[in-house]
Structure formats: C-alpha cells, structure tokens
C-alpha cells in the first residue's frame, strides 16, 4: 500500500481542528462534522482494503523524522477494529454536541478533533515512544473538555482525571526506556518478539500495569472515572467510555501480554482478584446511584473488569471475548450516555427520580434506550452477549470460581440496568415537565440509528468483527499459551464406552417368549 492512509486519517481531523480553532462559532460545527465523516469514510476504505489473513502488520509507514524514536505506523486486526470504533463514534459525538454546546464552539470542536487524531495515532503507532506520545497527549484535550464544558464540579474532576492518569503513565515511560535500552529498538513488532528476562518482566509488567489499570480503570484505581464521567459534557463521556477506556485494554493486549507473558501469568490471579471485586462491588454501587451518568460510569468499571478477566484467561476465547466486549461496550455505553444526554438536554438534570414514564411521551426514545439497556445486560442478539459469553467461556477454562463470580456480576448488571430503565421509562409520569418532553428529533435519530444497527449486527453476525483479528489473536495465544496459569478445568480424558449410555443390557440367549 503506497498511499499513506493512516497518516491521512490523522491529517484530516488535524486540519479540521486547526480550521475550527480559527473560524469558531457555527461554522466550526459543520467543519467538525465534515472532517469526522471524511475520516470515517477513510476508515471504511481502510477496513475494506484490510487483507484478512494477510500479513500481520498492514498499511505500514515509517519516516525517520525525530531523534530518539521513529514515526512508524501500521495496524493489525486488533488496531483496525479499535480505530474503526473511534472514527465511528466521532461524528456521533459531534452531532451530540450540536445544540448542547453553545459557548466557545470552535475550541470545543477542535479539542474533539485533536482527540480523534491522538486516538488513531495511539492505535496505529508502531514505535513504543510514539505510542506513549499519543497515549499521553490525550490528557490535554480531555482536560480541557471536562474543565471548560463540564458540569458544576468540573474543576475537581478535571484535576483528578489529569493527575491520576499522569502518575500512572510516567512509570510506564521509565519502563519503556529500560526496555528500549535492553532490546536496542523501540519498534513494537520487534519488541513483541523479544524475550525479556523473567525477573525484569515483573517490574516492567507492574510499571505498565500502573498506567493501564488506571486507564481501564480497574478497581481500586477507578475513582477518577465516575467524577470525570459525571462532569464531562455528553460527548466527552461518550469518548471517555467509548474509546479512552479501551486504551487500557489495548495496552494489555499489545504490551503486557505479548511482551511480558511470564509476569502476566504470575500476576493473573492478582488481576482476577481485582476484577472479581470490581464486578461485584461496582455493580452494587451502581445499583444505588441516583445519578444516571454515575450509574453508567460504574457499570463501565464492571464491564471492563470482564474484559481484564478475559484478557488474562490466556486462551483464544477469552482474548476474542475481551476484544468484543471492548468494542461492544464502546458502542453501548457510548449510546447509553447519548440517551442520558438526550433527556439531559431537555430537562437539565441527571437525577433519575426526576424522570418517569418516558415511554408514554417518548416512545421511540424508550425503544432505543431499551435496546441499549438490553445490550448492556448482554441479551442474546445484541453485541453485549457475544463478548460476555466468549469472555466467560474463556475464563471458565482457567478458573470456574472466577467464572462463577463474574457471571454473578452479569446478573447484578441486569438488575441495575433494568431498575434504571424501569424508573426512567416505565411507571407513572410523576413530573409534569418530564412528561411534556418531546420525542427524539431527526438529529438524535441520526445518532441512535447507526449505533443500534451496529449493536445488532455485532450481536447477530459477530464473524464480521472476529474475522479481522482472528489471526492476530491466534498469534498472541500461541505466544503466551506456554506461560498460561494452571487451569482448574483440565479433566482427565477417560476411556470411551462401548455403547451408548442409555443402551439397555440385552441378552440374546434368552430368546423370545
């Protein structure tokens, strides 16, 4: 591939961002929408041209521009899907902010477009330091988005988000220096093949974990997330939940697992323990929330715990399941935040008790909300089911105890989501102003329909999403399976019986009577 499509995908939003900053006002909205749609179109071209079963790394570009690291881009199936998720959600975010953002529109739109550049860069970077730069640079636009356009307590939330994530990442940077000094290259594909000394792996793994665990976020490093989500504007929450949380999972699958397989196996139970606590604890916390956004934020922590469990189950099902949950959660939690945003725009409150009986006056809204609620619970036929099923199937092979507890979490997930839905959409119309709200408008249709379509597509025919990454997951699995932690599900194969179990003993010598 000669055409540098990945660079182009980053330049288009970058140009849009600069234009938005200059023009400002209403024109910025149009520019932002146009450039995100153009990027999405390029993303579709990327996916169509991606050769499934082809070379592991495709669309590679490399330019020796800087001292110390290279501008090297390239994607495999895992990156491809996460890039697609980012570019798919971005135009929807712009639409979601169309009317909601009225002050400093140019700066807002350009912050989002910068964010898009950085997200694509993070997933496409093939140089360790280039990855770090993109990964870390996302702090700047997100800090501004929360701080300038956020809710009442935005200053506290923005500081917490910034400092929490920064302290996690800096230790990873030190580990990266050590790795590059030892391996002699900062090329990610080469480093994925490099075998680090087992003792060193432990420290490196911990340093990377510090960063990714905060990003995912894993219990007990999750406390920044509810604050950031609640205070961020709707589109900020969508991007935060949809893509930024996936950076942590991507980090585990791209760095921790292939580069430090032994340490990953040693720490697998540590991860399981944190994840089990997260699934149960944050689900219970979500159950008692009065604020819709906070509830969905806590549900994100619970869902991401299933992701980490799947990742560290060290088998193909677990890894594929984790990837699918990440994609599905990106869509579903994004969509749920949009649903909150739709009614927040009308009533300017996120308090659950202020709503009720919305299915009467907003039937289409209630329909979409129901679909996404069900997808979040993991109803078969929606995207949530496929990922959770695979992930739990994967972990069941490693530990039935972890599978048991995580499945309990899924049941709790059904409880808090259905409870939320009942309070918002069903029951009596307690508040006159909530009862007077109009149904979703064309702009909101345009936000909901694409996500709903993909959620159903992923639920009914997940093969489209599994196919691009199958080979990459297989490579990863082959690389790490040797280090896999002991499983409690290894049954000893017995000798096969001669006949079927229900065959009746029959003595032919007795003859007929």
């Amino acid at each position: 591939m000669d055409f540098p499509i990945l660079t182009t995908m980053m330049l288009v939003p970058l140009a849009g961002a600069i234009l938005c900053l200059i023009t400002g006002g209403g024109a910025a909205r149009v520019i932002a929408l146009a450039s995100t749609l153009a990027t999405f179109a390029l993303g579709v071209v990327l996916w169509v041209n991606y050769e499934i079963g082809g070379p592991q790394w495709q669309f590679q570009e490399s330019l020796d521009l800087f001292d110390g690291f290279t501008y090297a881009l390239g994607i495999d199936g895992i990156s491809l899907l996460l890039i697609m998720l980012s570019v798919f959600l971005m135009p929807i975010c712009i639409l979601a902010s169309w009317d909601a953002i009225q002050k400093r529109v140019g700066e807002y739109m350009s912050a989002f477009l910068f964010m898009e550049v950085l997200m694509i860069g993070t997933f496409a970077a093939q140089d360790l330091f280039l990855f770090y730069i993109f990964f870390e640079a996302g702090l700047i636009p997100m800090y501004l988005i929360i701080g300038v356009w956020g809710g009442d307590n935005r200053i506290y939330a923005s500081y917490k988000f910034f400092l929490y994530t920064l302290i996690g990442s800096v230790l990873m940077l030190i580990a990266m220096f050590w790795m590059v000094a030892t391996a002699g290259t900062s090329d990610i594909p080469t480093l994925m093949q490099y075998e680090f000394d087992t003792g060193a792996q432990t420290w490196l793994w911990l340093a990377f974990f510090a960063s990714f665990a905060v990003k995912v976020p894993m219990w007990p490093f999750h406390t920044w997330l509810p604050d950031a989500h609640v205070q961020a504007p709707t589109a900020g929450s969508v991007i935060l939940a949809g893509v930024l949380l996936k950076l942590g999972g991507y980090g585990f699958i791209r760095f921790s697992l292939p580069m430090f397989p032994d340490a990953s196996a040693d720490f697998a139970w540590f991860v399981f323990a944190l994840s089990m606590v997260a699934v149960i604890y944050t689900s219970l916390v979500a159950l008692v929330q009065e604020d819709m956004k906070k509830l969905i934020a806590y549900s994100s922590v619970a869902h991401m715990a299933i992701v980490t469990v799947g990742l560290f189950s060290f088998n193909v099902q677990g890894l594929e399941g984790a990837m699918l949950i990440m994609l599905s959660h990106g869509l579903v939690s994004g969509a749920l935040f949009l649903c909150v945003g739709v009614i927040y725009d009308r009533l300017h409150t996120r308090e659950i008790a202020r709503y009720g009986g919305l299915s009467i006056n907003m039937p289409y809204y209630a329909l979409f909300f129901l679909l996404f609620t069900m997808a979040s619970i993991g109803l078969p036929g929606t995207s949530g089911f496929v990922g959770e099923f695979l992930s739990l199937a994967g972990i069941y092979q490693t530990s039935s105890l972890v599978a048991l507890i995580c499945t309990t979490g899924i049941i709790l997930g059904a409880a808090y989501m259905l409870y939320l839905y009942r309070r918002v959409a069903f029951g009596d119309q307690k508040n006159a102003d909530a009862a007077a709200m109009g149904d979703i408008r064309p702009r909101e249709w345009a936000m909901m329909v694409p996500i709903a379509a993909v959620v159903l597509w992923m639920g009914v025919y997940p093969e489209s999403f599994l196919a691009p990454m199958r080979a990459d997951i297989a490579v990863l699995d082959a690389q790490i399976s040797a280090a896999a932690p002991a499983s409690d599900a290894e049954l000893a194969p017995g000798t096969p019986r001669d006949a079927a179990a229900n065959a009746i003993e029959f003595d032919s010598s007795e003859g007929e009577h």
């Binding site: 521009l65 800087f66 001292d67 110390g68 400093r104 700066e107 330091f129 770090y132 730069i133 993109f134 870390e136 640079a137 702090l139 700047i140 800090y143 501004l144 701080g147 300038v148 935005r154 200053i155 923005s158 500081y159 910034f162 400092l163 920064l166 302290i167 800096v170 230790l171 940077l173 030190i174 220096f177 050590w178 590059v180 000094a181």
Partner: protein, 492 residues
Amino acid sequence: MDFSASFLLVMPELVLTAAGLILLLAAAWGGDKAARGISIVASLVFFAVGLMLVPSLHTGVDGPDTLAFGGLLKIDTFALFAKALIYLAAIACLVVAPAFFNGPAAGEERGMRAEYPVLILFAALGMSIMVSANDFMTLYLGLELNSLASYVLASILRKDQRSAEAGLKYFVLGALASGILLYGMSLLYGFTGGTDFASVRAGLDGELSIGQLFGLIFVLSGLAFKIAAVPFHMWTPDVYEGAPTPVTMFFSTAPKVAAVALTARVVFEVFGGQVAAWQQIVMFTALASIVFGALGAIGQDNLKRLLAYSSINNIGFILLGLAVANAAGASAMLVYLFIYVVMSLGSFTALLMLRDEDGDLYETFADIRGLAVTRPVIAWMLLVQMFSLAGIPPLLGFYSKFVIFQATVEAGLVAFAAIAIAASVIGAFYYIKFIKVMFFDDAVDLVKGKSGSGHWVLLILTGVIVSPLGYLITGSLKDLTDKAAAALFVAV
C-alpha cells in the same frame, strides 16, 4: 599557539567588550532618550557575535586547538553551544524591554534606562568567559563580571522598592556564594598546587584528602547557589518577584545556561577523576530541586514567584542529566537547557503581555481569570508553554524530559529516574493551575493593554518551537549537543 590565534578564538568576547564600552559612552552622552537605539545596536551586536560562532559550531571543535592564552580559556564546541544560547536569550531580553519600561503611564523613574542594554552586554560577556573558562581564575573573573552586572540589573528600577530589595538581596546572598566558591577554590589550590583545571585534576588523583574534599564541596555549593539549586535556592523567588520582569526573564535564561555549563565543565574537567565524590551530591541536589521546586510552587499566587519555583524544578531535571556523569547525560542536559530557555522566554513574554491600559503588569492568578475568552492568543500560547513545562507530550517539553530520563535509565540509575519522574507529577499540578485559571474560570477581563510587536513575534516563535513542530528540529539539535557534550570529555 601564538597570541594572534588566541585573539581570534576570543573574537566574540572582544567584540562584546568593545561594543559594551562604546555603548556605555553613548549612554553617558545620549542619556535615557538613546535607550531604544542602544538596545537595537546591542541586539545587532549579539546577533553578529552569534553568527561568528556558527561555522565552528557546525564543524565542531575540540582538543588543544581550542585553548587560548596558554590554557586560560577553552573555546570548544561545548562553550560555543552555551554561548550561542546565551546570546539568543540576551537578544530576546533586549527585544522585550522597551515596551515594558516605556508603557503609556511610565514617568521619569519608570522609563527605560540607557544602561539596561549595556549591562546586559557586560553580563553576557561575563557569561561567555564563564562557559569557556579553563582555569579557576578566569572562571571567577567571568562569574563576577556577570554577577555585578546582574545585581545592578535587578535594581534598575531605582524608585521601585521591590526592585531595590531584589537587588540588595541578590547582592548580599550572591556575594556570600562567591565567597564560598572562592574559599573552595583556594582550598583546591592549596591542596593541589594549581588553578588551571588540568593541574587541579591531576592533583586530585587517587584518594581525596579531607582538604580536597572540602574544596570540592565548597566549589559545588557556590555553583549550586548560582544555578539556584536546592538547598541554595532561597534567594530565587524573592529576586524573581522583585526584579523588573524583563530582568527576571534574563535571570531565568542566560545566567542559568552559563552557570549550568560552568558547573558541567567543573565537574567533568576538574572533578572528572572523582565521579563518586560528586555524583551523589548532584543526585541529591537534583532530586531535592525537583521536589522542593514543585512543592514550593503549589501555594504561590504570584506568577513570577511561581515561575521562580518552576525554574528551580527545571534545574533539578538539568542536574539529573549531570548526575548521569557521562557524555549521553551531558548531551541530554544541553538539550534540556535549550528547550528550557525557549520555554522560559515564551512564558515570561506571555507574562509581559498581561498589562492594563497604563502598561502596568498583572502578576497574580486572580488577574488572568478567563484569559482564554478575552485574550485567546496569549492564553493559548501560555497553555502550550505550561503543558510543555509540565512535560506533557506532544509538546517539546516532553522531549527534553525524554532525553534526560533516557540517559538516566541507560546509565542504570532506574530507581533514581523513577523517583524523579514521580516527583515531576507534583509539578504538573501547578502548571495545569494556569490552564484552570485561564480557561475554566469566569473572565475578569482586566488585561487590556497593547503589546509591542516584538512581544508578539517572540510569543508566537517560542510557541511554534515548543509545539509538536519543534520535534522536527530534534534530530539536528541532538547532533549538536552530542558534539558539544563530547568536547567535554576530550582530554587535552
């Protein structure tokens, strides 16, 4: 080496001396009305002198050919690099000065004085001598020339109490530090029998005696004062706050470069055989500067004071590169120094643009609330500088920390690097406070004063260098600093 070759080597210093003397006469005859003209001439002199450095900087020079006057001075690539940086910073400080002093409401006592550019010239001359010193005598000569000019610069607003206080404080504490340094030098002379770097180094061979160790520690303490490293940093916030802002900008750039370069030369060329003796001192100073610089800044409300603590914090990172004690560390240190100078110039220029209608400066956080709405360009440039100072990618400040930590980790000092980088997060807290105040708070719209075109040019230029575009120069910058650092380790 004959005398004429020596004169050729110190041509920049000769030009600066001549220009300084002539302009001093011009100042005496022309009075303060000639201040602007003298400033322009002085900037041109710096520019011309800077150009003289380019050819040898490009090819790189080291070894015996660089010694002038029988080894009193050493004009190698390292000295050239430091000098170029000093001259650039001096030009910037000359460019911003007239608009600051001659505001709309400036009277007799506020107006720009003709001595300002002359003092900058002499200070820069002193620094040139400092960075090329190869003998403790020349070192002290340069240091004092620079210091004396600086004391006067700090109190150049004679009628302003804070300026006078800053000058006095700087003088008293500076004299004390010079005394400490001189005492250390005399100890070294007594115990080694020489003042030139090579013979002191030879005299320090083998086990250090108590007297030699005291000499080493006194010299390092005196130098630590000049670069404002913890625990000799206490004068910095007061002097930075009290001195007129263009002078503060000067203090935080050019003399820092000179003192850091001098320290590097002393530790590598004089104490190069005794790394174990000074490495832990520098390590402690580096970590302490990072931590105290960051903690001290948190409670500050005055922007200049805050930037003073920020400069202490940055010195910590620069010393981190020095503590690595090899060429890679020295090279990283020079990269950091360059980027630090650019960031300092940028942020002080932005502070200089925060003026009311009368041209008086605003100096506290309360005055710049909501600046992003009222003066977006200044606010965005300040944002870029602050995130860069905090070391957040993709801004160039990240690259400066990147090279420092890379050198540290490659030298095996992993735990040291981990502590330092964790401490750097504390620093991020007050840098992002700038952003919070300018972008998140409601606008107060106090900043209404107009700024000179020189300010705008400098603001945008430093902003562009610090932006991701700056990464495009990293390749050639690293080549240059590698050459400069290598020159330090060439035995003569």
